[in-house]
Amino acid sequence: MRHLIRELEAICGRERVVTHAHALRTFESDGLLHYKGTPLAAALPDSAEEVQALVRVCHDARIPWVARGSGTGLSGGAVPVDDGILIVLSRMRRIIEIDLENQRIVVEPGVTNAEVGRAVGPGHFYPPDPSSQIICSIGGNVAENSGGAHCFKYGFTTNYVTGLEVVLSNGEMATLGGKELDGPGYDLIGVFVGSEGTLGIATKITLRVVPTPETTRTLVAYFDGTDSAGRTVSDIVAGGIIPAAIEMMDSLSMQACEEATHAGYPPEAGAALVIELDGPEAECAPLFEDVIAICEASHATGMRIAQDEAERALIWKTRKAAFAAMGRITPNYYVQDGVVPRTRLPEALRRIDELSEEYGLKVANVFHAGDGNLHPLICYDASHGGEPERAEELAGLIVAMCVELGGSITGEHGVGVDKKRYLSKMFSEDDLDAFHRVRCAFDPGGLANPTKVMPTPRLCGEVPGPYRRHPLERAGLAERF
């Protein structure tokens, strides 16, 4: 153990290897505070070479490790594995290259999402915009395939990563893709993005950026309930309009936001939709009129159209503050993340209401309605005996309902530790077996974030038999079919 720490220190320097129990508490959880772990040490490398050396040491000593970006994850993905090493990438914050001519930016993993946006602006922008964008790292975004409010039109992290340099758990480095698209070979970038730190550590990331839209128009429309708001979402999309964002808030989340930001939401409204269109003025202006007409036809009880950038910023600030604002109406809350097909939204919301009633726990809904990505916030009071457990049970039922309606157990927060037990609600043993093969190809020793994603631990074993290019062909066998 001592020896191992000394090896880590030899790589990063003493001051960048944290071993004191007290100091390690900074890293014990990610954004989901109820999962905790204590690593042997946390190392803060400065370069890809240092990451590689750290991973090698772990490989030789057969010690598991966990990569950590900014620790904002909401599924426990960056929670340290007890007696493993935590590799914290937040010092690797260099922007390596901005190549706007080719619409690419090359960064180290610790660069934040917002820094990427700033670096390529104002002429270009980087579309995936998680609400945590000021803090969360691009490495974390890659690992979680993060999305945001604008993903309905623009897509997710996976649609923007064109190149990755990754350190694999055996200490080898691989360069996947680059600035160019469609190179030969398996799409390993596609497999790595969203793999939650279980396939290796991204040490250099090449992203595609796009021209900043000419105009943006934003409105908030109020409805008497989530049913009519939900139908409006479907009507807009069915009308061939692809908004940059459509976000829904129910009355409870509006109430919380109102207390936090005093944005002026009407207290009697049952639901609100934040709708944003962006694009060329010539296209955007008339379509925005169409959206207004659709909202009116769907009996919107009121509408607020952003008149300038300041008003638009306020609308978004209010929406993005929703999670934080919940603290004003409940002592504790649990954020769930599930997806249903968009047309099932009204039904899903009704069932959440019923469950909320049954459990006697309030549930606020604020979510990416265009994608059908729900974020029910389950309110509870930890000082009331049994409430945390009931909240968790309720959260589990909501996820099960999402799967039943043809959706997913997670739209953007990932499986991590939190949702491992639900993964088999969505996937069969055979599906999980296929996932496991991917993992074994990248990390046969099971050292990379080992206790995450898969519901039960599995070993990889040797590949049966050597790799064979031209297997024996046995004549006559085809007749059996």
Binding site: N102, E180, G185, P211, L287, N373, T410, E412, D430, D431
Partner: protein, 386 residues
């Protein structure tokens, strides 16, 4: 060469049974769609068994309200598009479809083929929400789902898109659809000025014009630039684009017809000669056109993406081989993948090229051995002998 035995399963479970039996007897297998891209990849020995998706051809779901669809792999893309069109929707995937528009969705995904719409909507990988595959040992596995946002589990759809049948059989795909545009307008212009032409597309790709397609062509000393604007009000954007092109001095015309795009797509294929796909950067167009001129090739390209197809006219195999080698050495380190070409030519060069990142290649081999340890599915067809 032994005759290939072909089976045509009618359900995914059937396909899984066939594959399981093949694995049990160490039988070499090749998936078959419509066969329009059989000539791609390294030439390999004929397999003992072909599993055809001809009868896995149902459109299982078209969820109009959700703009998603579930298709069996053998569905010809054209037929799916017709079904979607009846609901005013489309799959934004427009590769060349081969004779009789036969290309199946499974074959297109397996080869990651593409067309001009790649500019805005991405490649197959970006349009897939989920996939069901039969692994080389017969395991029937699914990844992804039917919703447009989903991060549960590993994304096998991306792994199988472009895997050329080396990881088993794709039996079903789930795709995201888009509403069909109300109107469309194509802006076109031409020039013979090889010096200034390559910068013209950049004028457009750097503007917020929301083009669906941005393609170029170069043949017989003339360059063509074409941009597709679709939506409710494409005129304003097309006019803005024309203004941006004014400094180039090119004469700009617009058309509502789609014929130029069909032609552009068709030029990604060749029944004789050879086609090489170059993965470069948007700013590489000048270099790639120069190379095309020097080797006597014509070019079509996705100008905003830096992807080009160089097409060499029919010639002796050895002449083609040396032209391909010349392209590769001139364009290195850009990947130059040989697509359509006579078998002698494909046998005479490495169709995938030689310059691959060592680490990436090692990883690809490990993926192959975990999915197909006995090496039964299209062995040798892919790069690095995979």
């Amino acid at each position: 060469m032994t005759a290939v035995h072909c089976v045509t399963p009618t359900t995914p479970e059937d396909a899984s049974e066939v594959m399981r039996a093949a694995a049990a007897t160490a039988t070499n297998v090749r998936p078959r769609g419509a066969g329009t891209k059989f000539g791609w990849g390294r030439p390999i020995d004929e397999p003992n068994l072909e599993i055809s998706t001809a009868r896995l051809d149902r459109i299982i779901e078209h969820n109009e309200g959700d703009l998603t669809a579930v298709l069996e792999a053998g569905v010809p893309l054209q037929r799916a598009q017709e079904a979607f069109a009846r609901a005013g929707q489309m799959l934004t995937l427009d590769p060349p479809l081969g004779d009789n528009d036969a290309a199946t969705i499974g074959g297109i995904v397996a080869t990651a083929d593409q067309g001009p719409l790649r500019h805005r909507y991405g490649a197959c990988r970006d349009l897939l929400l989920g996939v069901t595959v039969v692994l080389p040992d017969g395991t029937l596995a699914r990844s992804g789902g039917k919703v447009i946002k989903n991060v549960a589990g590993y994304d096998l759809a991306k792994l199988y898109a472009g895997s050329f049948g080396t990881l088993g059989l794709i039996v079903e795909v789930i795709v995201r659809l888009q509403p069909q545009p109300v109107k469309q307008l194509t802006l076109m212009c031409e020039t013979d000025d090889a010096e200034s032409f390559p910068r013209a597309p950049l004028l457009l790709s750097h503007a917020a014009l929301e083009m669906d397609c941005l393609d170029v062509g170069w043949r017989d000393g003339t360059g063509t630039l074409m941009a597709l604007f679709r939506g409710a009000f494409p005129e304003g954007r097309a006019q803005a684009a024309a203004r941006l092109l004014e400094p180039t001095g090119m004469t700009v015309t617009t058309t509502e017809g789609v014929a130029p795009w069909a032609e552009q797509r068709a030029r990604q294929r060749a029944s004789e000669g050879a086609v090489v796909r170059v993965s470069g950067r948007a700013t590489d167009l000048f270099t790639v056109i120069e190379c095309a001129q020097r080797t006597g090739a014509t070019l079509v390209g996705r100008a905003g993406l830096g992807i080009s197809w160089l097409s060499l006219p029919a010639s002796e195999p050895n002449t083609l081989i040396s032209a391909i080698e010349e392209m590769r050495s001139e364009l290195s380190p850009r990947a130059c993948v040989l697509l359509d070409a006579p078998e002698e030519v494909r046998a005479g060069v490495d169709v995938w090229g030689r310059e691959h990142d060592e680490g990436a290649l090692a990883l690809m081999r490990r993926v192959k051995s975990r999915f197909d340890p006995a090496g039964l599915c299209s062995p040798g067809r892919f790069l690095g002998g995979i």
